[in-house]
Symmetry: C2
Subunit: 502 residues, 2 copies
């Protein structure tokens, strides 16, 4: 593909995307394909000869597109949002165009330094304590990880290493392996599955502690768990607090958990993957009260802040905790200053290679402006409120718990069975996509505002579709005989994001 072909192909691709977003409401949010559809459509071998770009774009439209679930459709209300915006796409074209790997500062100075700058910008926008920022005097700083899963695991491994160093300092004769086997991690039973997975991957026993009736992990519960474990000779090592749980967007009280952790020298990691984005609006910062107790803090900019996956913003109070855990080279004392202020980011993460990911964070912050990003968050929260009001006004429904951020959980008063059937029937129609979770042992439907394109009219459309299906369901005579009752429930099991809540 020469420059001229690239020019034409890129132009056609951009037009295709513009058309996609301008007409996205004409598409069902869920595809109508069966497992294996694409395996049947595509040849068994790569082509020997190059194909013309027009053929490739055509195959994309005709074969790939029908199997796409439209995460950025205004009618996608499942999981949590995944960022996508024109400025972010521009940032990534620039990043791909340069095609550099930021192994070290010298491997591309701009890659390291723009990450420092944008993580400072973003940390300040969130109102994080200065101690977490690279621009403070101390050893704190921000780094872009690939995902919240990765950040949780990175923090767990750093916590493990730090605890070993601390205990060895107290008693140099202790055996590392024996110590490690005694380490325990804690989180709430509302945690995302990736938190539990971090325990599996990082070889640390992970206790999922019982949350209170509002889905919050309380300080007393954590304290009691520490005491139980210590009495058994175990060593509390790592705690993951959730700011905005995956199921119901509950906020663990950091001001309760923090002091308990600090007293025992236990690492406190804050997983604010989705809801953390809202702290760019000062009116929500009370929900992170106590953040100063944390050792690390993570927000997925690629969820709610219009930056494309992957861009998970992680801050640590002391970057040396990462460097000691991950550096497989010798640390030269001469480099101390450079290491802190112009970091060698490969020692702050698990893989060696790293893309120029800060470019998309930079283009989004510049082209939206802080004000534009705050407006985006506030608009989405107010759309969720609007939807909650519509549901509440129908006395067949209960909205529970209180809507939080862009999430509204609701159920039929009529019982779990019907709520399940309602969700199943809605998914079968493929025009709305929501998933379920459990709240106080009840089956509830989660409706999340995800797309930057969603308007009040889209919400009204959603609500009208939900009402229609409810009418059919509650008045059994009218139930459409096509309604299937098995396969969709199976799907629901597969797609429920709240698999761990009890």
């Amino acid at each position: 593909m020469d420059s001229e072909q690239f020019r034409e192909c890129a132009k056609a691709t951009i037009e295709m995307l513009i058309d996609y977003y301008e007409n996205i409401r004409n598409r069902n949010v869920l595809p109508s394909v069966e497992p294996g559809y694409l395996l049947k459509l595509l040849p068994e071998n790569a082509p020997e000869e190059p194909e013309d770009w027009k053929t490739v774009l055509n195959d994309f439209s005709e074969k790939i597109m029908p199997g796409v679930t439209h995460w950025n459709s205004p009618h996608f209300h499942a999981y949590y949002p995944t960022g996508c915006s024109y400025p972010s796409i521009i940032g990534n074209i620039l990043s791909d165009g340069l095609g550099i790997i930021g192994l070290t500062w010298m491997a591309s100075p701009a890659c390291t330094e723009l990450e420092v700058v944008t993580m400072n910008w973003f940390g300040k926008l969130l109102g994080l304590p200065e101690v977490f920022l690279n621009c403070s005097d101390g050893p704190g700083g921000g780094v872009i990880q690939g995902s919240a899963s990765e950040a949780t695991l990175v923090a767990l491994l750093a916590a493990k290493d730090k605890m070993i160093r601390r205990l060895t300092q107290i008693n140099p004769s202790l055996d590392h392996d024996t110590m490690k086997n005694k380490f325990v991690a804690y989180t709430s039973d509302q945690c995302n599955s990736s938190v539990e997975k971090a325990g599996v991957l990082g070889s640390m026993k992970m206790r999922l502690l019982k949350s209170d009736p509002n889905g919050k992990l309380r300080g007393e519960t954590l304290k009691k768990a520490f005491e139980e474990d210590k009495a058994q000779g175990l060593i509390p090592c790592y705690v993951v607090a959730n700011l905005g749980t995956t199921g119901t967007c509950a906020f663990d009280p950091l001001y309760e958990l923090g002091p308990v952790c600090n007293e025992e020298n236990v690492w406190l990691h804050v997983d604010a993957a989705y809801a953390g984005a809202a702290f760019i609006c000062p009116e929500y910062r009370h929900l992170m009260k106590g953040v100063e107790y944390a050792d690390s803090f993570d927000v997925n900019v690629h969820k709610w802040l219009l930056v494309n996956f992957d861009c998970s913003a992680m801050w640590v109070k002391d970057c040396y905790d990462l460097i000691y855990a991950f550096d497989v080279q010798r640390i030269y004392l001469d480099d101390v200053n450079t290491t802190i202020k112009i970091p060698d980011y490969r020692h702050w993460q698990m893989p060696l290679g790293r893309r120029f990911r800060s470019l998309k964070l930079w283009t989004v912050m510049k082209m939206y402006g802080a004000d534009g990003l705050r407006k985006h968050i506030r608009d989405q929260i107010s759309l969720a409120q609007y939807f909650a009001n519509l549901v509440s006004s129908d006395d067949r429904f209960i909205v529970e718990p209180e809507p939080a951020m862009g999430l509204v959980c609701f159920r039929l008063k009529d019982g779990d069975q019907n709520t399940k059937k309602l969700l199943q029937n809605l998914i079968e129609k493929k025009v709305l996509f929501m998933v379920a979770c459990t709240y106080r042992s009840r089956f509830v439907i989660r409706y999340v505002i995800t797309s930057r394109l969603t308007t009040k009219e889209d919400i009204e459309t959603s609500w009208s579709i939900i009402k229609d299906e409810t009418n059919l369901l509650i008045n059994p005579d009218k139930i459409n005989s096509n309604t299937k009752s098995i396969s969709a429930i199976d799907h629901l099991n597969g797609i429920s994001i709240c698999e761990k809540s009890k």
Copy 2:
């Protein structure tokens, strides 16, 4: 940014990239900036108001670009290549445009299925045994990981889990923690630092075994290490073989290592991050003789095969080894068939989220064709040969070891001190970029063909620059008084990729 602004901005961005590549020879490959340059240039806070896209692109050109090391310049000969091509950029624009997350099949069927298809295509192109492919009858299959680092760690964790299952089956009363502490991993002293890091991250003792004089880890050495460790009550668990070491591109003999591993039920992972790409040309497949003994195999398509980072192609013989190790949900037996042939890829990797990465692999394979990709590899190898011949024809130099793939290692006969100085002086000029490694205790300069744009004329230019600098160096009267002697050597320490070789 509305559609019209996006159209214009994307067009300008594409033109900027085309111009970048058409005139890349006018730029120094290394930037002339000091640490902290960008921190000084950019404001301390994100802008409050949105900025016009023209301002943003202008800032990119004026502020970011001067701090970029040009990895895709025809004069970049450091490390190994990082993929970048127009078809790959198109694939990523499509992926970013859709902005989907392939959590499960239903979260976007096309995302899962195109990965299956392209990994089958690519596995066949490489001539991998069928047992590794999803299209075989068995439980083998391919998955795209983020990096070779990640693949090495994924395989290590799976190996650990598998060994625990095996030993527990033999003796159910064994304590898991006690077992784990006895596990040992092995690789050669020529391994990439990421292999050693996998041991650190995965909490497994990693022995770097002495390679033979040609940089290969031999079967006898491995066997002896197993025996030593078993005699001490330790349990050999995981071996990483290198096909194309980072320093000198040496190939460990799989046909020697494989039987040793298989006999002891030790997981054999093949790290063919760079050189594995060459197996698309049948004439190089003899270098992976014995691959049928391996449990997992990884090639970074994003290195030498024109796909942008991140796209690391990993195959396993038995996908259940990954699923058992990484799944934090219950595995329903009913799903067994779906799980193998239409995989739930989140259980094949560490993070939960995943981008639509197969799109760029697909656009590259289609727009180049298998034939185009083979031509790319062969052209690059023949350019390396051309350079090696030029160097060999100058009797002040020794080319050693034999050039392999796109890598030529050379040194001055005059001694390590002068070779070091030569590299240092060349780097100071910023027009060529190479890094060093150690071969048989000698300091050698690595010259790698990386850019898809490199031509014979570029090689001649390189050689002429190297010769000129050598003339100045070997004839001390002519040494330029500006030649610095300290800071660059410090940089060299920082950039040597062969930090682990002894």
